[in-house]
C-alpha cells in the first residue's frame, strides 16, 4: 500500500483507452464498475474530442457480484458489436474486474463474433498507464499485422502517437514532412488515426518510425522480428536530434539525407545576443523518459542551460535515464511520488523546471518558473495553434516554451540593479505575464525584514552545520530570487570545501569570485 496524493500515470486500462480513442473503427469493451466512465472526460474535456471514446463499460454493481457478472460482460460485448459494428474489438478488465476474475478474453472467444476480438491482460496492481498503451498497441499489431510485400516506393509507419498524448497531434504532421522531404512515404500512422484495417497493412512499410518509445516499443520490436522492419532509435526533438533522426532515417531508407530547414529559427534565436542571459541557467528536468532525454540534450547543447538534475516517472525506462544522468554528471530521480520530486526540486533550487503539469504546480509553490515538456497533460497542452515539439518547427516551439516563463533580458538586469524599486521588485514576477503586480508601500524596507517563510527556508542550516551570519543573509536577499538559490548553494558548497562554518558577507563574495566564469 502506498499513499498517493497526485499520480503521474493512470491505471493501465486508461492506456488502452488512449490507444482505442486514438484509433478509428476499433471498440473497447471494458469490464468495469460504475464510475470508471470518468476516464471518458479526459478525452472529451482535456483533449476536446468531439465524440465519445469508443469504450463500453459493463457497469457492474455490488448486487451483481454474487450473481452473474460474466453474463453482463457478454451482453455488453454483443451490444457493443451490434451497435457500433467495429472492425475489431479489444476486451479487458479494469482494476476491480481483475479481482473478480471473469476472464473477458476467454468469454469473448466463446461468442464467435465475426470480427477479431483481442484480449488484453493489463495487471492493474503492478503496472500503469504507459504500460497500458504499449501493451495494447502491441497486442493489436500482433493480432492484425502480417508480413507482406513492401510498398514499391520506400515508406515508413509512424508508430506511437495516441489519444491524450503530449503534442502527438502536431508531431505527426512535422515528422510526416521530414520524411516527405526525403521522398519517403507514410504507410500507416498508428494508433492515432488508424483503423484495424490499416494495422493489417503495416507490414507493407520498409521501416518503422518509433515516435514515442513509451507507447510503441513493444510493437516496434515485434515488427522488427516478425515483419523484418527496422525501427528508428532517435526521437527528433531538438535541432541536433532532428539532424540525427534524418541521418538515421536516410540510412534505413537508403536515400540521401535531404531536408529543408529554412523555417528553423531556433539556432539563431539561441545564438542571438538577446539570449545571453540564458547562459548557465540551472534547470531541473522531470517527465516521461523520452521527453526528458530529448529535452536534456536541448537544454544543455542548444539553450546553454546547466542541467542540475533530471528524472522520469516511468520505471520502464529507469536504466536509460540513469545512464543519461551519468552523462550529465547528475543523480537520476526515478519515482512516481510527487512529494519526492518536490523535495528534489526544493533541495536543488534550480532556476527553472522543465517538467509536467505537476511540476508546474511545484514551481508555482516554490516560485520557480516551469515549462511543461511532457505528459501528464492538461487542457493547456492541447493548444488551438499548431504546436509540435518534434522536427524543425518543434525546435522553434520549444525555444519559445522555455523562454516564456523566465524573466527576460533587460528586465533581469534591472532587477539585479534596482531590486528594491517599489513597483518593480522581483516578487512582482515577469512583467509579460500580467497578473496583479504586488506593489510595495514606499515606506516599506524590504531587505531588512524578509518574509518569515522565505527567511526560514533560506536560513535553514545547510550541510555540515554551516550557519549564515545575519549580514550575509541580508546580502543574500539582495540577490534576485531567480539566482538566489544558486548563490546560496554555491556559497555553502564553497564554505564546506574551505572548512568555513560561519558564512559572512566576505564568504559570499569569495564564493562568487570562486565560481565566476
Amino acid at each position: 500500500m502506498k499513499l498517493t496524493v497526485w499520480t503521474y500515470e493512470g491505471p493501465p486500462h486508461v492506456g488502452a483507452m488512449r490507444v482505442a480513442t486514438g484509433m478509428r473503427g476499433l471498440h473497447y469493451v471494458l469490464h468495469a464498475p460504475q464510475g470508471d466512465t470518468y476516464a471518458d472526460l479526459l478525452f472529451t474535456m482535456i483533449e476536446r474530442r468531439n465524440h465519445r471514446p469508443p469504450v463500453s463499460y459493463t457497469t457492474f454493481q455490488a448486487r451483481d457480484l454474487g450473481a452473474d457478472t460474466a453474463n453482463l460482460f457478454k451482453t455488453a460485448l454483443q451490444d457493443a458489436y451490434d451497435r457500433f459494428k467495429p472492425q475489431a474489438l479489444i476486451v479487458g478488465s479494469s482494476c476491480t474486474a481483475e479481482l473478480i476474475q471473469d476472464d473477458p478474453g476467454g468469454m469473448s472467444e466463446t461468442m464467435d463474433l465475426p470480427v477479431p476480438v483481442i484480449p488484453l491482460e493489463l495487471p492493474s496492481y503492478q503496472r500503469k498507464e504507459n504500460f497500458g498503451t504499449d501493451e495494447t498497441f502491441f497486442q493489436i499489431v500482433k493480432a492484425l499485422a502480417r508480413p507482406m510485400e513492401r510498398t514499391a516506393h520506400v515508406s515508413a509507419n509512424l508508430i506511437g502517437p495516441t489519444g491524450l498524448g503530449f503534442r502527438h497531434r502536431d508531431d505527426i504532421v512535422e515528422v510526416t514532412a521530414l520524411l516527405e522531404e526525403m521522398g519517403i512515404g507514410v504507410n500507416v500512422v498508428a494508433p492515432m488515426g488508424a483503423t484495424p484495417a490499416d494495422i493489417t497493412r503495416m507490414g507493407a512499410a520498409h521501416f518503422n518510425v518509433l515516435m514515442y518509445p513509451e507507447h510503441a516499443e513493444a510493437a516496434a520490436r515485434w515488427a522488427e522480428k516478425t515483419l523484418g522492419q527496422p525501427y528508428t532509435k532517435v526521437v527528433p526533438i531538438g535541432v541536433g536530434a532532428t539532424r540525427d533522426f534524418i541521418a538515421e532515417v536516410a540510412g534505413l531508407a537508403g536515400v540521401p539525407p535531404k531536408f529543408d530547414d529554412s523555417r528553423l529559427r531556433m539556432p539563431w534565436y539561441s545564438q542571438s545576443v538577446d539570449s545571453t542571459y540564458l547562459t548557465g541557467k540551472r534547470v531541473f528536468l522531470f517527465g516521461d523518459a523520452t521527453h526528458v532525454k530529448c529535452m536534456a540534450r536541448m537544454a544543455r547543447d542548444e539553450m546553454g542551460f546547466e542541467v542540475v538534475g533530471l528524472g522520469c516517472y516511468n520505471r520502464e525506462f529507469a536504466r536509460d535515464i540513469r545512464a543519461l544522468a551519468k552523462d550529465y554528471g547528475v543523480e537520476a530521480l526515478i519515482t512516481d511520488d510527487y512529494l519526492e520530486v518536490e523535495k528534489a526540486i526544493e533541495d536543488l533550487a534550480p532556476e527553472m523546471i522543465l517538467g509536467t503539469q505537476m511540476e508546474r504546480h511545484i514551481g508555482k509553490r516554490l516560485g520557480i518558473p516551469c515549462a511543461v515538456i511532457s505528459a501528464p497533460v492538461h487542457v493547456q497542452d492541447f493548444p488551438a495553434r499548431y504546436s509540435p515539439v518534434m522536427g524543425w518547427e518543434g525546435a522553434n516551439v520549444i525555444f519559445d516554451t522555455l523562454v516564456h516563463p523566465l524573466v527576460m533580458g533587460l528586465e533581469e538586469h534591472l532587477l539585479h540593479m534596482f531590486r528594491e524599486d517599489f513597483e518593480f521588485h522581483d516578487e512582482a514576477g515577469a512583467s509579460h505575464h500580467g497578473g496583479a503586480a504586488k506593489l510595495r508601500s514606499l515606506d516599506e524596507v524590504p531587505v531588512a525584514e524578509p518574509e518569515p517563510a522565505m527567511a526560514a527556508a533560506d536560513a535553514a542550516p545547510a550541510e555540515g552545520n554551516i550557519v549564515w551570519l545575519s549580514d550575509a543573509e541580508r546580502e543574500l536577499k539582495k540577490i534576485p530570487f531567480f539566482v538566489r538559490g544558486k548563490a546560496k548553494r554555491n556559497t555553502e558548497k564553497f564554505a564546506l570545501e574551505k572548512g568555513v562554518t560561519r558564512i559572512s558577507v566576505e564568504t559570499l563574495y569569495e564564493a562568487k569570485a570562486h565560481y565566476a566564469r
Binding site: 502506498k2 498517493t4 491505471p11 460504475q34 464510475g35 476536446r48 457497469t59 455488453a76 495487471p123
Partner: protein, 429 residues
Amino acid sequence: MKDFAPQLPAAGCRNTPVLKERGQREVFCGLTGIIWLHRKMQDAFFLVVGSRTCAHLLQSAAGVMIFAEPRFGTAILEEKDLAGLACANEELDREVGRLLARRPDIRQLFLVGSCPSEVIKLDLYRAAERLTQRHAPHVRVLNYSGSGIETTFTEGEDACLAAMVPTLPDTDERQLLLVGALPDVVEDQALGLLRDMGVAPVRCLPAHRAAETPGIGANTVVALTQPFLNETAAFLERRGARLLSAPFPFGEEGTTAWLWTIAQEFGVDADTFARVTDAPRARARKSVAAAAETLRGKSIFFFPDSQLEIPLARFLTRECGMTAVEVGAPFINKQIVGPDLDLLAEGPVIAEGQDVDLQLERCRAARPDLTVCGLGLANPLEAEGMATKWAIELVFTPVHLYEQAGDLAGLFARPLRRRALLSGLEGAA
C-alpha cells in the same frame, strides 16, 4: 393566515410511472464527493483505500489540481495487499500512522472504501475502530464506502454523512439541524434568514470542524438541504430526529417553500416570515426573470447525475418557463423528492438509472434545446449540434436559496446565450 406554500399543478409527477433502466452508466462514483467534502470539513482527511484508478479519478474529476496540499489521498493497493488481508491491514495502519504524524491538524479521518477494497472485503469499519482506539482522543477515524459498485456520485456525500450520524452525541435540545454540505456563502445565508425569523438554535451537518459537531435526539428537527441524502435521513430518523418534508431550496419558490415548512414547524408567523423574506424573494424573482427570458419556452432533457435533477426540473419548468422532456436521476426516493415531484407538472418522462446508449437515442430523437449531462457526453453532443449544460457545475457552484436563484437560472441560460452569440462557426467540430 397568509400561506406561503406553492400552488400545486393540476397533476404532478409523483405517480408518473418511472422508466427504470439498467445498463452502461455515464456517471461518477461516490468518491467524487471528496472533492467538495474535504474543503467543507477543515480538519478532516479523506483516505481512499483503493487502486490507481481511484487516485486518477480524484485527480481528473478535480479537473485541475488543487494548489494547496489536498486533504485527501489514496492508499493504493498493490499486489501484496491483495495476497493477504492481514498484510493489507498492517499496511493501512502504517500509512495512517505516517499520515497523522505528518498532518497533526487532522482531527477526523475518513477511510473511504472503493470498488477494489469492497471486492476483496477489506473491513474498513473494523479498521476505523482499531485506528480510533490507537489515535484517540486526538483523531476520530470513521469509514464509508464511495465505491462505484455501491454509490453514484452524490451518494458518496450521503454515505459520508450517514457514517457520522451514529457518532453524534445525544441531545434533548429542541433544535433545527440543516443537513448537507453547503457552500459557506449559502450556509451563512440560510443561518441568517432563520435567525431573523427567530428559529433557534440551528446547527449544521457536516460542521466545519470536529469540535462543532452537532448533537442529535428526539427533539431535533431535520431539514435536508440536498435531495441525495437518503441514507443519512434514515439514520437520523433512527436516532429519533424528525424529518421535514419540503421542496428543496432551489429558486425563489423552492426556497420559500422550504423556509416556510421550517417556519411553520417553529411557529414563525406569516408576518415575520414576510418581513424576513419579502426583500430577498423579490430579488430572487427579479434575477430569475432576467435569465428566464432566454429559457422560456425551451425544452430540457436531464441525464442522470447528481439526484438534483427533479428539484431542478421543478425550478426550471415553474420559474423559468422551460418544458422538461425527460428527467433522469440515478436514484429516486419519493419520500425525499416527493414534494418536488408534486410540483412538477405531468408531462416529462421520469427515468431512474441509466442505459446511456438508449438514453442518447431518446435524447437525439427529442432534440431538446438544452441537455444536462456529464462531462463525458457534453462535447460529443455539442458536436452534434445540441446545447448542453455540464451537470457537475451544479454541484460545484453555490445554487441554493434566494440570492443564488438568478445564478442557478443563469447556469442554464449561458449555453443558450453563447450559442446565440457565436456566428459563422458552423461545422467547426
